[in-house]
């Protein structure tokens, strides 16, 4: 009896103490925050030598936002998958530290025929992780597999159709996959034939879908191919281990068979899936992660942290103005109405105060730090700003538009996402637009992404907040979206002059880089300044917390997010 009482008492004390601990006062918090700051300062001091020698131990701990759905280059369609591919496999080319495509599995720059239709690649002596050589046949097999309709590859046809010879017909099942414009001349020589000259073709060669696959291995594994780390072959800087195909963690190990292994410093990268941004930050502060993405409300809180790194992405967000709904013209078919809306909201405040996540205000469609001309000049310098905020001008345009429509007020709906950030942003638009444009009433419709896609598909909206991230490094990746009947147009915008410029960039101008870029600049001007078909809002940015000893990480503007090939740790010890 005595013992029981003691047990009861102890149990109660334990529970109460846990509870009281959990409810600890705010003073503790303040104290500990200061302690944290002290620690951070030390951390920055240690690796002060920027070009410090790499530490003896090269093990990195990172987080991904989702599990890996697939590492089969023909099947991958998500950010995490492409990221893994880029670090464990390698294509003919690879994006370097300056994001230029440089020969990788190719031993030297490709030879291009005069008409720009044939590329010949010489392969270097590279090996798969099983020790066998990477051959030209491996590329032929992988590309044919990716375009074969039976494979059901989402990206194969998307990347190759209209680019690689016969790809469209093959993907539609009208031609045999053997007819694809890729031939192995010998074990180390690969010849690719294109449908049309594609000036950005070499940068495409660094994209995951174009990576090689070893036929014997893929066939042997059958359905099990690429379903876990044992059922994969690697020819990149790292191999994948401890990935069971569905789990929330995996490990990258340095690949000793990689042709450039001597330049790979990290020996191991441990990755865990952490979906919650607050948890990622706590793990980072606890030293369990060397880098953590910060999103949502936390972004504002941490944007001034001394370990915060702002990283602009290449996704651009804009308003789509739907000019036709249910077979009838909408008020947005009026050019003045569109221009008025496009010029009536302050983008700087939106980016800095409302979004506060490293995003930049955008007066453009083709993003900054993304596409460069022959001389390495950013396309943005060439094309300048369009549709800048101008409340006065917006008012005049609005009045003119209303007069043309013969009404004195309008009600329009903004279709946006259902995340907290989207809602905040939509509220901002409502307030700005209604304040600046007299007689305008904005209704907000906030729906999940899947619903938005459906409404977009049915062209059932007035104004939609939409965005686009590029899959290859060329302004056409963005400008192609708005040609008449383009798959992403879905707002009944059509301008023959615009269409012609885009068509020319793929045809007559394909081999004239300077004129081609001029055509793009002209097209962007038509789309935005002249027609206000869409209203650019912002270029998305990201905020990361990154330990000062983590160096050399390269982030890419398209395709995979990161290369760990050149990353290393210096000054942690």
């Amino acid at each position: 009896m005595k013992n029981t009482k003691w047990l009861l008492l102890m149990a109660l004390t334990l529970v109460l103490s846990i509870f009281l601990a959990a409810c600890g006062g705010t003073d503790d918090k303040k104290e500990d925050t200061t302690k944290d700051d002290g620690k951070d300062e030390n951390a920055t001091e240690t690796p002060a030598k920027e070009d410090g020698e790499p530490d003896a131990e090269q093990i990195l701990n990172l987080a991904e936002s989702a599990a890996i759905p697939s590492v089969d280059s023909a099947i991958v369609e998500d950010a995490v998958g492409f990221n893994v591919l880029n670090n464990v496999n390698e294509g003919l080319y690879r994006l370097d530290q300056e994001n230029k495509a440089i020969p990788a599995m190719a031993s030297e720059e490709a030879t291009e025929s005069e008409d720009g239709l044939t590329y010949t690649f010489k392969l270097r002596d590279a090996k798969w992780s099983d020790g066998t050589p990477v051959t030209a046949e491996d590329f032929v097999f992988a590309w044919q597999r990716a375009i074969d309709p039976a494979t059901g590859s989402p990206y194969g046809p998307f990347m190759m159709s209209g680019t690689v010879k016969n790809a469209t017909a093959i993907s539609e099942g009208k031609m045999d996959k053997k007819e694809l414009g890729i031939v192995a001349k010998d074990e180390k020589t690969l010849e690719v034939t294109l449908e049309r000259p594609v000036p950005y073709f070499l940068s495409l060669m660094s994209f995951g879908t174009f990576y090689p696959q070893k036929e014997a291995f893929v066939t042997e594994k059958g359905d099990a191919y690429a379903t876990n780390s044992d059922n994969l072959l690697y020819n990149g800087p790292f191999t994948l281990t401890d990935w069971d195909g569905t789990g929330g963690s995996w490990v990258y190990k340095k690949n000793d068979e990689y042709w450039d292994a001597e330049n790979v410093k990290l020996t191991q990268i441990n990755v865990n899936v952490v979906q919650d941004s607050a948890t990622a930050v706590k793990l980072y502060k606890d030293g369990k992660l060397d880098r953590a993405g910060v999103s949502g409300d936390l972004a504002m809180q941490y944007s001034t942290d001394e370990e915060a790194v702002l990283q602009p992405e290449t996704s651009v967000f804009y308003m789509k103005f739907n000019q036709e709904k249910g077979g009838k013209e909408t008020p947005l078919a009026n050019e003045n109405i569109r221009k008025a809306i496009a010029k009536s909201f302050q983008k700087e405040d939106l980016a800095d105060v409302v979004l506060a996540n490293g995003s930049l205000p955008a007066n453009f469609l083709v993003p900054k730090d993304f596409a460069y001309d022959e001389d390495g000049k950013d396309f943005r310098e060439l094309s300048g700003d369009h549709l800048e905020y101008n409340a006065e001008e917006a008012k005049d345009l609005w009045a003119a538009g209303l007069k043309e429509l013969g009404v004195d007020s309008l009600e329009l709906e903004i279709l946006g996402g259902d995340t907290d950030l989207s809602k905040k942003m939509d509220e901002y638009f409502k307030s700005q637009l209604e304040t600046n444009l007299e007689g305008l009433t904005i209704k907000l419709k906030e729906v999940p992404f899947a619903v938005r896609l459906e409404l977009d598909g049915n062209q059932d909206y007035d104004i939609q907040i939409s965005g686009w991230g590029p899959d290859f490094q060329d302004p056409i990746s963005f400008l192609d979206l708005f040609v008449t009947d383009g798959t992403n147009n879905l707002m009944s915008y059509s301008n023959p002059e615009y269409d012609k410029l885009i068509a020319d960039s793929k045809g007559d101008l394909a081999l004239k880089p300077a004129e081609r870029y001029e055509a793009f600049a002209k097209a962007e001007k038509i789309l935005l300044d002249e027609d206000a078909a869409i209203a650019p809002i912002y270029q998305r940015g990201l905020i990361f917390l990154e330990k000062p000893y983590f160096k050399g990480l390269v982030s890419h503007p398209f395709g995979a997010d990161y290369s760990f090939k050149w990353a290393y740790i210096s000054g942690k010890e």
Binding site: I18, P154, G245, A278, D286, L453
Partner: protein
């Protein structure tokens, strides 16, 4: 008894069939597609991908295939995890969820029962008020709030246990288990207290007291056993919920469990996985309810499972 059990098993299958059917058709009303790059694809490409994953077939055909596979215990292939069966997916994710759920259940119920008994035996004293206050907190504060507090103080500030992830062995499971345990803990404390007070006032306890039984005997042998019945009724479904994964707690602690998996499948419209997980949840709950019913008879022989109008 055998007849009763047989009948219950048949009902269980009927329930599962109805749930499977309802889930299937509800899924069809969801907008969107499980293909991530859908907006970038042309019609032909969409058709090819849909064909590959069998979503191009008419709904009744899809339903028939689905039910046929289900009868064989095959939950289909995940759309998000390419070439991975939903069975494999669940199997790889169930372990962490099960460990957390079981620990939370055991810890929560034992402490809860103790608290409830103390409160009942020491009615209207400091002990009673203390444990009642605790139980009310446990019921009114959601587990994810506890999770965040435990994570912040015990892990982030005092560095006593891991902040999250599933790579520190048993240590990784302690905080999420405690967070999850708060619900069942509060529930059992409250139920046991009420029931015990009621039972303690009944005639047979007075009789036991008169016969000279000591406090321990009265509390455990007589009162507690009777107080347990309503507790088991409510704890059954709670147990099923805990073991099949707590969506938010797993996400907060970055634990690769079934709850975390369920949330991400919904985000990416992975129909097969959503259906598979829902069915798994349902099956688990049905089985737990069945076990609870059987347990009634074990705990209180007065409850007869067969015969009469039961």
């Amino acid at each position: 008894m055998v007849k009763y059990v047989g009948k219950r098993i048949i009902y269980m299958f009927i329930t599962m069939f109805l749930i499977a059917t309802a889930t299937f058709f509800l899924m069809q009303t969801l907008p969107g597609s499980p293909i991530a790059s859908y907006s970038k694809l042309t019609e032909t490409q969409k058709q090819n991908v849909e064909k590959k994953y069998g979503i191009d077939k008419p709904k009744p055909v899809q339903y028939a295939i689905y039910m046929k596979n289900l009868a064989k215990g095959d939950l289909g292939t995940s759309f998000a995890f390419k070439n991975k069966s939903v069975n494999d997916l669940l199997a790889s994710r169930i372990k962490p969820s099960f460990i957390l759920g079981a620990q939370a259940m055991v810890f929560g119920t034992i402490i809860g029962i103790l608290l409830g008994m103390i409160a009942a035996l020491k009615q209207n004293t400091f002990w009673d008020y203390g444990s009642t206050f605790f139980a009310i907190l446990g019921i009114s504060i959601p587990s994810f709030v506890f999770a965040t507090m435990l994570q912040y103080y015990i892990a982030s500030q005092w560095h006593l246990l891991p902040v999250g992830l599933w790579n520190d062995g048993w240590k990784s499971s302690i905080l999420p288990s405690i967070a999850l345990a708060m619900g069942p803990l509060a529930l059992s404390a409250r139920f046991i207290r009420t029931e015990m007070i009621e039972v303690m006032g009944s005639d047979y306890i007075t009789l036991a007291k008169a016969k000279g039984a000591n406090g321990f005997e009265i509390a455990f042998k007589h009162a507690f056993r009777n107080a347990l019945i309503p507790l088991i009724t409510v704890l059954g479904p709670v147990a099923a919920g805990l073991v099949t994964g707590s969506l938010v707690v797993e996400q907060i602690f970055a634990i690769p469990g079934i709850g975390e998996q369920f949330v991400s499948s919904i985000m990416v419209n992975d129909f097969a996985t959503i259906m598979g997980t829902t069915l798994f949840f349902s099956a688990f709950l049905i089985v737990v309810i069945f076990i609870v019913d059987i347990l009634y008879g074990v705990i209180d022989p007065r409850i007869r499972l067969s015969g009469g109008k039961a």
